[in-house]
């Protein structure tokens, strides 16, 4: 059996992380993390600022190299891949950055079209149609001609999401998707993430501080402390955890 890119489908989990270590100078950020994410599952990673949550996402997509350990994406070891092969895997992964990271010299439409123009076999007309559909999915189809500086933070996140979805990824990485947004906009973004799970069956890893959002979108939660996973399970399971740190972290809800 083969997928749409004519690659054999394997039954490996979407993401398997084993004994992952990462330090910056003397500061240990990740200290032997192990995590498995099944296909179609949404895992939320919680933890205090500076506990390496964003670093974990960047390691997963190969933007940073781990000191040691293994990361397998759909069975493919990421840490040893050459540049070309790495890019092939990256096409299967979408990344929504904390500040959306839209290209500020390009319009909203051009931002979404940017990965399509370079990494898809679609014709020009098909690409335009795809951009329109993606922008409609996130409710931004009326703002295609605007520059990122002319739209609000919430809108930028939506466009960032549309851009991340452009190559129809099988895995989505969200770096604090609701940070800096008002509760209503944050709720809308969470609904978009839920929609992706239901309609596209995308595997997601969401790094967030938004406990309420985490409860809404997660199948499973992981709590990081000092570079280690200290709690793992569904929201209800973690809620029952007696560890003072875990209890304090979730008491915000």
């Amino acid at each position: 059996m083969k997928n749409q890119n004519n690659e054999p489908i394997n039954n490996e989990p979407a993401v398997v992380i084993q004994d992952l270590h990462k330090s910056f100078g003397r500061q240990k950020v990740l200290n032997g993390i192990a995590l498995t994410v099944a296909r179609g599952e949404t895992v939320v990673v919680l933890g205090r600022s500076g506990t390496g949550k964003s670093v974990l996402l960047k390691l997963l997509i190969g933007l940073q190299k781990p000191d040691s350990g293994s990361i397998r994406i759909q069975g493919q070891e990421m840490t040893t891949l050459q540049f070309k092969e790495l890019n092939q895997v990256r096409k299967k992964i979408g990344f929504l950055f904390q500040q959306a990271a839209l290209y500020d010299s390009l319009s909203v439409e051009e931002n979404v079209s940017f990965p399509l123009d370079r990494n898809s076999d679609l014709s020009s007309a098909e690409r335009k149609e795809q951009v329109r559909t993606l922008l409609a999915t996130v409710g931004m189809d009326q703002h295609g001609k605007k520059l990122p500086s002319q739209i609000s933070g919430g809108m930028q996140k939506r466009v960032g999401l549309a851009r991340a979805l452009a190559l129809e990824p099988e895995i989505m990485l969200f770096d604090e998707p609701t940070a800096g947004l008002d509760p209503i906009t944050a709720g809308e973004i969470n609904q978009l993430i839920l929609g992706l799970q239901e309609k596209r069956k995308i595997t997601s890893i969401v790094v967030t501080h938004d406990i309420r959002g985490a409860r809404t979108v997660s199948d499973r939660l992981v709590l990081l402390k000092e570079g280690n996973i200290v709690a793992e399970g569904t929201f209800e399971e973690i809620k029952k955890n007696q560890d003072p740190f875990v209890a304090k972290f979730l008491s915000i809800d």
């Binding site: 933007l63 890019n87 990256r90 950055f97 990271a101 940017f114 370079r118 990494n119």
Partner: protein, 284 residues
């Protein structure tokens, strides 16, 4: 030749390290140690940067639209500045040289001296320095702010090589535009020189040019103009490199813009020393 090379390397070491460490001038031993480490890191990173750029530069598909945007940003948008600087240099050369030549009783050589001086040295170096300031700072700041706002990460995450899209287009634009801008500086410099001469003692432009270009041949003109290709390369590479390795938020962006200008200007002056000597050896 070796002496020049050693001077060039030492100056590079000093400049690259001082710019990076200028905010940590405390204990002299620590400064020397940190400077040496920073220098070798800088050189190592630069070699890796150039290697990565060389690997993607000529591989299709090419980023034609972005290249055009960069050509416009470097060329037409620097034109007025370069033309003005060229004209001002021509005027100053004319004013200063007239005085010296008159004292030596060789006032008739004025057009030759102005044309020679502008085409062989002043035009290229003025263009290099002006473009370093305008374009070097621009590239350093733009790529720096793209780095700190994760736009470059976003590009890599969607399997697009920023070295191809952002860096190579900027390097190529600088390389292609520098010789053309140099011609503009030469042209307006000569025009400025003539206008000033004509103001002091009436002389027709035709006569001025005939006298000026009488002893000039292609060996004088071509190597001097095309050495600016190297200047363009230096500006593109150094400014992009400083921009791409930006760290530390908006403060880091400011540092990248400043260090881009400082390093580009310095390396252009140092490279000019080598290039002038090489040209003298190859085109005697």
């Amino acid at each position: 030749m070796m002496v020049y090379l050693i001077v060039f390397m030492v100056a590079m070491a000093f400049s690259s390290s001082t710019v990076i460490l200028s905010d940590r001038l405390t204990n002299p031993f620590v400064v020397v140690k940190d400077s040496m480490i920073a220098f070798f890191e800088w050189i190592g990173d630069l070699i890796i940067f150039c290697g990565r750029l060389a690997r993607v530069a000529l591989v299709p598909p090419h980023e034609g639209r972005e290249l055009l945007r960069q050509l416009e940003a470097v060329g037409p948008k620097s034109f007025m500045l370069v033309a003005l600087a060229g004209a001002a240099t021509g005027v100053v050369l004319s004013l200063q040289t007239r005085d010296s030549l008159t004292r030596l009783g060789a006032a008739s050589l004025l057009p030759t001296v102005i044309v020679f001086s502008l085409i062989k040295e002043t035009g290229p170096i003025i263009t290099g320095l002006i473009v370093s300031g305008r374009v070097g700072a621009g590239i350093g700041a733009e790529l720096g702010s793209m780095r700190v706002t994760e736009q470059i990460d976003a590009m890599e995450a969607s399997a697009i090589d920023p070295y191809k899209y952002l860096v190579w287009t900027r390097v190529l634009a600088c390389v292609l535009m520098l010789p053309l801008l140099t011609l503009a500086a030469d042209f307006f410099g000569i025009l400025g020189g003539w206008a000033t001469s004509a103001f002091m003692a009436p002389v027709s432009l035709r006569l001025f040019l005939e006298n000026g270009f009488k002893t000039l041949d292609f060996h004088d003109f071509l190597p001097s103009t095309f050495k600016t290709v190297i200047f363009g390369f230096i500006i593109g590479i150094v400014a992009s490199f400083q921009g791409m390795r930006t760290k530390g938020g908006t403060e880091g962006v400011g540092r990248s813009a400043t260090s881009s200008v400082v390093l580009c200007s310095l390396f252009i002056i140092l490279a000019d020393v080598l290039l002038v000597r090489i040209i003298q050896v190859l085109f005697p």
